[in-house]
């Protein structure tokens, strides 16, 4: 029953959304170049099915790699910021400043510095764009940890790292996973930015671009939907991890 609901509800939501979209286009009688409708997409998918698989895979693995990096580095930065007030005061403005810079404008700089390293550049951008939410959430989790929790292990002479591992990290896991859900979507954006701005002919971004030059609007929308689908796929992967590691945190709503 509950499992059924878990599958049915998202499906119904997606179907409702597609129906609303179709209706919107239909009612306004918008041409394809303004907004393609869901019914235009299956032919586009079918025609380029192999490309979608290949490009989708390209995009996916780079995104996941970048995201993995973001988790590791973001957690480290978050730890530094959470443990040290000075680090927090000093790093936050730099990180915020860095993150306020549109990454699209950084792509050319990066591709000039690491010329031809397409894979590296793409992974790097996915990482750069997605580590911040994770760092923030880990940092906040640490700096707002109630002393009672910390003292459980502190009274045993445990190191800061141990306290982080056994108490602070598990306690902030719900927020960490929330940040991860945000980061997943950002990482996709990062990968695609490179694929679009510094084209190297691989990934869904490249497919989007070729749809654009051909004026093939259904293809463009199909790519966007494919990206959304990949994002949702990765989201469910995160969700599974969340259920395993932070399932305890969800409370009944009475």
């Amino acid at each position: 029953m509950e499992t059924l609901q878990k599958i049915a509800v998202p499906l119904v939501a997606v179907v409702l959304f597609l129906a609303a979209w179709e209706a919107l286009v239909w009612v306004n009688n918008w041409p394809n170049y303004k907004m393609a409708s869901p019914s235009d997409l299956p032919p586009a998918f079918w025609r380029f099915r192999w490309l979608f698989l290949e490009m989708g895979w390209q995009t996916l693995w780079r995104t996941v790699l970048g995201l993995g990096l973001a988790v590791v580095v973001g957690t480290l930065i978050g730890m530094v910021m959470g443990f040290s007030r000075i680090a927090r005061d000093g790093l936050y403005p730099l990180l915020v400043g860095f993150n306020a810079i549109p990454k699209a404008t950084l792509v050319p700089v990066i591709s000039l510095i690491f010329i031809g390293q397409h894979d590296f550049n793409t992974v790097l951008m996915a990482f750069l764009i997605s580590f911040f939410p994770i760092a923030v959430s880990v940092g906040i989790g640490l700096s707002t940890l109630e002393p009672e929790y910390r003292d459980i292990l502190r009274s045993l002479g445990a190191s800061r790292l141990t306290i982080f591992r056994k108490i602070a990290l598990p306690k902030t896991l719900p927020e960490f996973f929330g940040a991860l859900k945000v980061s997943v979507t950002l990482a996709f954006i990062g990968t695609n930015l490179v694929e679009i701005v510094a084209p190297h002919g691989r990934g869904l971004g490249a497919l989007f671009k070729s749809g654009e030059t051909n004026g093939d609007y259904p293809l463009m929308f199909a790519v966007l939907i494919a990206l959304a689908a990949l994002g949702i796929l990765l989201y469910y992967a995160v969700l599974v991890l969340e259920r395993i590691f932070a399932g305890w945190a969800e409370r009944p709503q009475g």
Binding site: Y33, K34, P108, I115, P199, G201, L207, G211, D216
Partner: protein, 314 residues
């Protein structure tokens, strides 16, 4: 074998086909060159790629190069071979909205994206054709909406590249005979267009390689003119999602309007007319304030052009 990665200014579209022809037919290899062709995101992306030496050769708009060299004097980059004898800068209008010649623009609404390359030259075009800028309404439009706005009749004309905007408008359902493409180069604008640019450090060390490269490019263009379909086939193998009919048309337009001009047919491809270049610089002064004294020799160097007649297009 010398490695010569080649940085295109744009994606793998019709006008990029000749380079793939040269590659596929082994013209580069015959010159002892191993060439890898890379997509670009505009001239402004290709120029620094060559200037930093990351790519020894590239393809970019000479007007952008002029500004780049003015802002970054001494950067080791220069144009070596003119390809678009006439630049694709154009005003694309709709006859049904009353735009078929430059003079018709008066009193009309012109859609122009502020950073557009064609829009940047529009003041020259207006001055040469006696169009009163005050008499026309300029609507700043984003690139994505430029052609759709023309198709929907919200603007009477737009600035853009001839082989991009006209095809886009056609794709949006505007009948071909309703579209008027006013090439600025046909109406008093003396500017040159895209050229093969080289890194001067590389060229100084490998002058023969550069000459060989330019020779192969010329051959590629010649073959493409003779057999566009094979050329498009070469392109399609690199960009499988492209639409061959569209790219064939785009290629044909660029050959007709930009590359195989009367001057090129008469004088061969690749070189420039110094007098026209001087005029182009003069015209540029009206839209761009040079920080250093402009000099044609800084921007174009014909030294590496092959002299064995391979540039003749007859």
């Amino acid at each position: 074998e010398t490695a010569m990665p080649f940085a295109l200014d744009w994606k793998f579209e019709g006008p990029a086909a000749p380079y793939f022809v040269a590659l596929d037919k082994g013209y580069f290899a015959a010159e002892g060159l191993s060439v890898e062709i890379t997509e670009g995101a505009g001239s402004l992306d290709a120029i620094p790629k060559v200037a930093t030496g990351a790519f020894p050769v590239g393809f970019a708009d000479i007007n952008s190069l002029m500004k780049f060299l003015d802002q970054n004097p001494g950067a080791p980059v220069v144009a070596a071979m003119m390809v678009y004898d006439k630049p694709p800068f154009a005003v694309v209008g709709r006859k049904s909205l009353g735009v078929s010649a430059p003079a018709d623009l008066a009193g009309k609404v012109l859609g122009a994206p502020p950073p557009d390359g064609a829009w940047a030259q529009f003041p020259i075009f207006a001055a040469e054709n006696g169009i009163d800028m005050a008499a026309l309404t300029v609507e700043p439009v984003g690139f994505p909406v430029r052609e759709p706005m023309l198709a929907e009749g919200k603007v009477a004309a737009v600035t853009g590249f001839s082989f991009t905007s006209s095809l886009n408008v056609k794709r949006l359902g505007v009948p071909e005979d309703d579209i008027s493409v006013i090439l600025m180069a046909d109406h008093g604008v003396a500017l040159y267009g895209n050229a093969v640019i080289v890194n001067t450090d590389f060229a100084a060390a490998n002058p023969e390689a550069v000459t060989g490269f330019l020779r192969a490019v010329a051959k590629g263009w010649k073959d493409t003119v003779a057999d566009p379909d094979t050329a498009i086939a070469s392109l399609m193998s690199r960009n499988p999602a492209a639409d061959p009919a569209l790219e064939t048309e785009r290629l044909a337009l660029s050959i007709r309007d930009n590359v195989m001009t009367d001057w090129v047919m008469a004088n061969g491809m690749g070189n420039i007319d110094p007098a026209r270049m001087e005029k182009a610089i003069e015209q540029t002064k009206s839209v761009y304030t040079f920080t250093n004294a402009p000099d044609a020799a800084l921007y174009f160097n014909p030294a590496w052009l092959p002299t064995d007649g391979s540039l003749t297009m007859q």
